[in-house]
Amino acid sequence: MLCRWPALFVLLSALSSPSVAAQPLDAHLVIVAPAAPGGGWDQTARALQQVIERHGLARIVEVQNVPGAAGTIGLAQFVNAGGGNTRSLLITGLVMLGATLWNDSPVSIAQATPIARLTGEYEVIAVPAASPIGELHQLIDVFRRRPEAFAWGGGSAGGTDHILAGLIAEAAGVDPRRVNYVAFSGGGEAVAALLGGHVAAGISGYSEFAPHLQSGRLRAIAISSPSRPPGINVATIREGGLNVEMVNWRGVLGVSGLSNDDRARLTTLVSQAAHSPEWQKVLLEREWSDLYLDGAAFDDYLAAERTRVGRIVARLRGPARGAPIVAGQRLVPIAVLGGAAVVFGALVVTQARNRRRFPAPSSPVRNRGAVIAVALGLVMFLVLLQPLGFIAAASGLFVMTANAFATLRSRRQQLWTIAVAVVFIWLVHLAFTDGLNLPLPHGTWFDSPVLGSLTTGRAWTR
């Protein structure tokens, strides 16, 4: 019975291959925004998406949000699970750099391939309209009096917002470790908290505050630029008497180990987008400064930033090792793991006691064989998806599951099952790849030189 599987797979693989190679290389570009929707990276990703699509530089550009931990989750996934997708870009920036250093993250920006720096945005410190604070020196006075009582709201811990809060504290003569910083996982959430007055002051990019500054619901206290940017009438931090400035740059990275050709191709694509009039219009609309930089110059800039931010983060954390303890940090993990241990333990004990008291009156008999057959089908799918591609692996899964469930098996039923499987899998494949433009694995097996000659025989299936 099982000996027929290999033949089936080869057949199905051959059927699956025609749809593989037809797409042009930049048909489906993925831009990973390593933040929750609404934040600065998300806006950058979506603006880039629009410009690339409008210029036809790629047929479909998809933005994926992978939020959390100031982009390190997105970076980790991009570097590790990106699967060497040479057609994907990761939005990066100072925040991500800060976070990888802050977290002693196992992944580093250096693992990805630098493509280009795109924009820079200055940071604004703002307060709700109802706040008595009007100028930076007033804010500093309140903050200095009791730093712990002054809650700053902003993006993830260790990010630009957090680093700026630390720098301001340091410049104001307050130990940065005393900064009471409340981290939110996205610009939208942080702005909502500030609008509702749940934090005393907020730090974020200008664009995220802009609509609310214009409507008068928030008041800008200071901006982190060296001088007042054109069109933005907000005093700089320097004007407020603190020697602090910072630009939150954003750029794009490619997956690790990108070949020179692929890197050049992505760089060209990004460069064309960044030099288009549409992109310039976006910059103007969002009030982002154009900081375009690519090639070796960007490599050098990135290296310099890594050094600089590493120094700042070390100061923020203080000489002692370890991040400052955030209130309740250990509470939930301990409660959950402890509770789980107690509950699972109690369950095992009561079950054992019940079993002793009522010795298995109708311990339900299970059809182990069928479960194992289905499980084998799942394992097979998992192992073969990458090498054989979706159509072959999924057809195998379908046939194996159906066989496990079928109690009677005649040859006709077998053939019928295979026919249903092939048609169904084709439809699913069609719906995902052509309908939704979500590529499914096509089978690396066919890329190997040994099989290359074999798969030239594919032509007849077209």
Binding site: I73, A157, A192, G328, Q329, P333
Partner: protein
């Protein structure tokens, strides 16, 4: 009255034949992607953005609104028929809905979901029409302390969904909470329970937990009873439509679900899951025959389905009035607004009145279309259950796998799906309920983040939860719900196995 005349104007815009066509295209597409596990409205709208750029904004937004509402509705179909919730907001629908489907009442379950979605969608859109700015500002009063109180309330409320055995329900809940712990702690960046596996750093997607436990676990369990158990699924028994009794049991849950869902959707960090949990718990308490719950109670489908659709409409409130996107779909709608050079926010209603009111009018129209489209389809969908079991389960496993893959396009996620499916199978064998695990995986991380933010803002003082009026009120309600069964037990002589208040 002002809003009313503006709305009439909006209908004038939306009711042109071409716009009706776009609305129809939107709801159809939305329903289809809602049915596919893992593919949601957010992804669909994102994929369509470049296609629609050549359209005038009003036509594009009318279609997007249709996709959004259609997707929320479509998710319930697979939850009810195949026990495969396509998104986390449909988990509670799967619990009673699938039991109904197994008992041959799938048609009624789908109908109450469709009509409930229509009722909730329409009422919530009306609330959006007339109270958006007021609601949005009220929602801003919710800070971390209030959100924590709300998650605690949800925990207490869903303890009633723990099943017959408190111990087993708690075991399931804690399993979910442990799954929720996995990954980088967003507030400090510290990795937890990730065992050095980088793919686990970003945590376990709730869709994978839900689809793994329900769909994969269900298929394995079904395999285990081949040849031992007579056919346990009855495709259809009695009328396909809702009976008079179904109607009388459904209309109150629809309204209560709407009342819970809409405000929760408006809250910037509320999420669409919490109202479905609350609605399920509320209906279970209020049901005339509480024993019906656990055997396919129509109230348990009507309430949560209404709640998640009302929440979807609620999400548009902060988006349109404040420019704050609070869900993935809303974020993409925001991008779409920006693509047309529009800035959602306080000024949108005055600056682009025709567009906003046209969009709101099309929400009403989309709701009607969904109902017209889906009610006749109920008969078709129910036939899914008549598919021979070998093909049905093979199909479920393939769709679940490809859905899990498409979330992050990661094969690791498929492995995770199967591992969780294996756990789901064991839980089914040991008669441990599945829903609490999904609830724990959703609520656990939410509760923790809100708790820690609230504590940080209050310098570590726990009094913040009691000194803030909204938070204190919500906690009082939670305490009331937690203590009610204890008091009730004192009064009635019959002991009831329903303890509450898992610590989270």
């Amino acid at each position: 009255m002002d809003a009313l005349s503006a709305l009439v104007e909006g209908f004038r815009v939306a009711l042109t034949p071409i716009n009706l066509l776009w609305a129809l295209a939107g709801v159809t597409l939305g329903t289809i992607v809602g049915v596919l596990p893992g593919i949601g409205p957010a992804l669909t709208v994102a994929l369509l953005l470049p296609v629609t750029f050549s359209l005038p904004p009003i036509e594009a937004f009318i279609m997007f609104a249709g996709i959004y509402y259609g997707g929320m509705y479509g998710g319930s179909t697979t939850a009810i028929l195949l026990n495969t919730p396509g998104e986390s907001a449909s988990v509670m629908t799967a619990v009673e809905g699938h039991l109904m489907a197994r008992a041959g009442r799938g048609g009624a379950a789908l109908a109450t979901a469709a009509i409930g979605s229509f009722v909730a969608g329409t009422l919530a859109t009306a609330a959006l029409t007339f109270s958006a700015p007021v609601m949005a500002n009220a929602a801003l009063r919710f800070g971390p302390a209030e959100y924590f109180a709300l998650t605690l309330l949800a925990f207490v409320a869903v303890s009633s969904a723990l099943g017959d055995s408190t111990m087993k329900g708690l075991a399931s809940l804690f399993f979910g909470l442990v799954l929720g712990l996995v990954g980088i702690d967003p507030l400090t960046g510290e990795a937890r329970l990730s065992f050095g596996i980088p793919q686990l750093l970003d945590g376990i997607d709730v869709v994978i937990v839900a689809v793994g436990l329900f769909a994969v676990g269900e298929s394995l369990f079904a395999a285990s009873s081949i040849g031992l158990d007579p056919e346990s699924v009855i495709p259809l028994r009695g009328s396909i439509w809702m009976t008079r009794e179904d109607w009388s049991r459904s209309w109150r849950p629809w309204l209560r679900g709407t009342a819970l869902g809409f405000p929760a959707g408006v809250l910037p960090a509320g999420g669409s899951e919490i109202p479905t949990f609350l609605s399920y718990a509320l209906e279970r308490r209020l049901a005339r025959d509480p024993k019906g719950f656990g055997n396919g109670a129509i109230e348990g489908v009507a309430g949560p389905e209404a709640a998640n659709n009302a929440a979807a409409a609620g999400t548009l409130v902060p988006l349109l009035t404040l420019g704050l996107p609070t869900s993935a779909t809303a974020a993409i709608m925001l991008a779409a607004f920006q693509q047309y050079g529009l800035q959602p926010g306080p000024l949108l209603f005055t600056r682009d009145a025709e567009l906003v009111w046209g969009l709101i009018a099309s929400l009403y129209i989309g709701n009607v279309m969904l109902l017209v489209l889906n009610l006749p389809l109920v008969g078709v969908w129910v036939r899914l259950l008549a598919i021979p079991r070998p093909f049905l389960h093979a199909g479920i496993l393939v769709l679940a796998s490809v859905g899990a893959y498409s979330v992050n396009r990661s094969i690791f996620d498929i492995g995770l799906l199967y591992a969780i499916g294996g756990a789901g199978y064991l839980m089914r064998c040991w008669e441990i309920p599945l829903a609490p695990a999904v609830i724990g995986a959703i609520l656990g991380p939410m509760a923790e983040q809100h708790l820690r933010r609230a504590l940080a803002a209050a310098e570590g003082s726990w009094m913040i939860f009691l000194t803030r009026p909204i938070s204190a009120t919500v906690l009082l309600v939670a305490a009331g719900i937690a203590l009610l069964p204890v008091v009730a037990r004192r009064w009635s002589s019959a002991p009831r196995e329903r303890r509450t208040q898992p610590s989270g």
